[in-house]
């Protein structure tokens, strides 16, 4: 990234972009995080993982959370899912405080969490079954499987699927519960680069066609800038809100936009936030010269 693009130019939002985000923020709040703290006891005294975190996610918004490693991204999403308790502060879903895990918040994990003993269809029907629906859930499960393009595999077992297919089933399984918000914890982190970009496009299509709000954790700048309406950038040690970036890249998003000035400016801004200039200095490793002078490639 160089100075060809003014790194701050994206802030001067064009009127239509400003109008878009104005409209977004007028929608009902689905998820509201208020003064969230999380401390872990360690032998060396308590460590604060999350500090005074507050933000809101609006209906049908696609929000990405990004931050340097160790900023507590995963802790945050686990608290939102109810898998861990916050030390202080609260999480409101549709204005009601959240406690414990529940089907109103669907979650897609980074590791493959399909139940290996259930077929694709049975996996998708797991949530409705837990809620007491029996065979009645089957036609709807089929629809969800169609939605992620795996109808040919509805009777396959997870071990017969590729990594990308497994995560598509995991998305269908979470959606089958009709959650208010879909929490995604680096769901494509374990996939190879090609499958990952394919999955990103899939996800955007699904999101476009459903009334679903998504909170998506990632460490990949491209992924965040490509998917998100807004990007929540966290600071590390302790994790606090650094900035909420409003991505000016217009929708529908296509891979061609990777070279658009708005996209590059967004990425530059994230990089600048999570990887400040000072850190770049530290990146240059003192290394003895092992090439002949005059043989430089740069």
């Amino acid at each position: 990234m160089n100075a060809l693009v003014d790194p701050l130019s994206y802030r001067e939002q064009s009127p239509d972009v400003r109008a878009r985000f104005q409209a977004l923020k007028e929608r009902p709040v689905v998820l509201s995080v208020e003064n969230l703290y999380k401390t872990f006891p360690t032998p060396g005294g308590p460590v604060t993982a999350l500090k005074d975190l507050s933000f809101q996610v609006f209906r049908r918004e696609f929000m990405c959370v990004i931050g340097p490693s160790g900023c507590g991204k995963s802790t945050l999403i686990r608290i939102l899912a109810g898998l861990e308790d916050a030390s202080d502060g609260q999480v409101l879903l549709d204005g009601k405080p959240v406690s414990g895990p529940g089907p109103d918040r669907g979650m897609v994990f980074q590791s493959y969490t399909l139940f290996p003993w259930l077929t694709v269809k049975q996996n998708v029907m797991f949530g409705p079954r837990m809620a007491g629906q029996g065979a009645a859930a089957e036609p709807e499960a089929r629809q969800w499987i169609d939605l992620v393009g795996l109808s040919r595999f509805e009777n396959s077992y997870p071990h017969q699927l590729s990594g990308g297919m497994k995560q598509r089933v995991a998305i269908a399984r979470a959606l089958a519960n009709r959650p208010r918000i879909l929490l995604m914890d680096e769901p494509f982190g374990a996939l190879d680069a090609q499958t990952r970009s394919q999955m990103q496009s899939y996800l955007l299509q699904i999101w476009k066609n459903l009334d679903i709000t998504i909170l998506f954790i990632t460490h990949d700048l491209d992924e965040a800038a490509f998917l998100a309406d807004r990007i929540l950038v966290l600071k590390a040690n302790p994790g606090e809100v650094n900035e909420i970036i409003e991505v000016p890249v217009p929708r529908p998003r296509t891979p061609a936009q990777f070279v658009s000035p708005e996209f590059i400016a967004t990425k530059y801004r994230i990089d600048h936030l999570i990887h400040p200039e000072a850190a770049h200095e530290m990146d240059s490793i003192p290394f003895p010269r092992m090439t002949v002078a005059g043989d430089d490639v740069e």
Partner: protein
């Protein structure tokens, strides 16, 4: 000669390459070899007389007053002692020769009755040889008239023992003895029998292994005999014994499973149970189960109950801990995912934990069933001895080791094939595990492979490729 390039390439593949899969052909060959090798070693040691054979098996009974122990044909003496033994008999014969040569059939020798008795024993020394050459039947072993006739026939050279042959030395002794015997009476007459001492036959023998290592054919013969013998009073047939032993093993094991699996699953799922149950179980499993045998007899009295209880005690504590560990090894994210999908605590246990651990639980139980078999031997000695162990004990005490081996091998085979069958069944029970679609059982493969292996024409390159691997490939390639 036609050369097949693929075959050539296969042949050039190294046998020793770290962590590199062998070709299916070689893998199957080696599987068969792993069973053939011990059999070959056993056969070699048994049938090649120059390998080991530290003993001599006697072919002629040696029953002499100055030899402290009485040996009968079939007994084994050490190779070092054997020449000494022969020499002792020769020394004993020397002073007798003169008296035998100068026998006066009419005169009655002093203490003739005692000498006659001793001479009748000498007469019967030939019985094993006669029986082995099938000149007399087993019932005739005490038929002195028939034996007497045979002495004459051998001395006259009318009959020549072939298996085993008699040494020149013994043939000479037979001739000398017969000369004296025939002088008194040409046919057997218990009242008219030589009254001077006859020469004793010099021990003859063949190299042999100790009785605790019978040859394979002896084991097979005894095995067939024991397993086809009908049941007698107080002596159940071998298959009844097998059935009895299996009942004890499976009885104890099933009880342990019924009690232990639920406890183990609860311990692995809920730390509350784990902390209450596991520390004590951990202590208790170090108490050796056999030390409870007298206690178990006191509680459950005789018969099978204490035996089943011993297998139960020996298995349950390990089982609880192993099952608890297996349960804990279940991927935690699966439980978390289920919770985010709305599963409550009861559903977590019944819909996630139990189905999730089943394949591993099944494997654990397979291994623990092997443990149960090891407890069997001790269990059957508890209280009234019974089953296969009672047979092994008794036969071992009589040194009938050729009957002991078939039983030991049978126990091994039962365990081995139970395990192979259970392992094959697991593919049917748990189609969702990756093993189920993976490689076939190497032993089953080897057995199926055996006939092909002998077909020289079987060419290397048309071996079936891993079909499931291909299927997987085609799935992943789909966009």
């Amino acid at each position: 000669m036609k050369t097949d390039p693929i075959r050539e390439k296969r042949l050039r593949e190294p046998w020793f390459a770290a962590r590199r899969e062998l070709s299916p052909r070689r893998a199957s060959f080696l599987t068969i070899f792993s069973f053939a090798l011990p059999l070959l070693i056993w056969s070699a040691v048994s049938y090649l007389p120059f390998l080991w054979h530290p003993d001599v098996e006697l072919q002629i009974s040696a029953d002499r007053e100055n030899v402290t122990t009485v040996y009968v044909a079939g007994d084994r003496v050490s190779r070092e002692f054997f020449p000494e033994f022969q020499e002792a008999v020769r020394q004993q014969n020397k002073p007798l020769e003169a008296g035998l040569a100068s026998l006066d059939p009419a005169a009655e020798a002093t203490n003739g009755a005692a000498v006659r008795r001793a001479n009748k024993k000498t007469l019967r020394q030939l019985v094993p040889i006669l029986a082995a050459n099938q000149w007399i039947t087993e019932e005739q072993a005490k038929d002195d008239a028939a034996i007497y006739t045979s002495w004459g026939e051998i001395a006259a050279g009318k009959k020549v023992p072939t298996r085993p042959q008699l040494s020149e030395e013994n043939l000479a002794i037979i001739a000398k003895n017969w000369a004296a015997m025939s002088k008194v009476s040409p046919t057997y007459d218990s009242d008219r029998f030589v009254s001077v001492p006859l020469l004793g036959l010099v021990p003859q023998g063949r190299p042999a292994n100790p009785d605790y290592l019978p040859a394979p054919h002896e084991v097979v013969v005894s095995g067939i005999k024991e397993f086809t013998a009908p049941p007698e009073a107080e002596r159940p047939s071998m298959w009844q014994r097998v059935g009895h032993s299996i009942r004890i093993v499976f009885g104890g094991f099933l009880l342990a499973t019924l009690v232990g699996v639920p406890i183990g699953v609860l311990c692995g799922t809920y730390p509350v149970f784990s902390k209450v149950v596991e520390p004590f179980t951990d202590f208790f499993r170090y108490l050796p189960a056999p030390t409870f045998s007298t206690l178990l007899v006191a509680i459950f009295l005789a018969n099978d109950a204490p035996k089943v209880a011993l297998v139960f005690v020996g298995t349950i504590f390990q089982l609880v801990l192993v099952v608890a560990n297996t349960t804990r090894r279940l991927d935690l994210p699966l439980l978390e995912a289920a919770q985010t999908l709305g599963a409550n605590q009861a559903q977590l246990l019944t819909r996630v934990v139990i189905p999730g651990i089943l394949p591993n639980l099944y494997d654990d139980l397979r291994i623990l069933l092997g443990w149960a078999w090891t407890w069997l031997v001790i269990a059957e000695l508890v209280g009234v001895k019974s089953g296969l162990t009672e047979f092994i004990e008794t036969q071992g005490r009589w040194r009938n080791f050729d009957s002991v081996y078939p039983v030991i091998i049978l126990i091994g085979l039962i365990g081995f094939f139970t395990d192979q069958i259970l392992s094959a069944l697991s593919r049917i029970f748990f189609p969702w595990t990756s093993e189920a679609s993976g490689k076939a059982n190497p032993l089953a493969k080897a057995i199926l492979f055996l006939p092909r292996w002998f077909q020289k024409s079987a060419s290397v390159h048309d071996l079936p490729a891993d079909a499931s691997g291909q299927a997987r490939e085609s799935l992943t390639n789909r966009p």
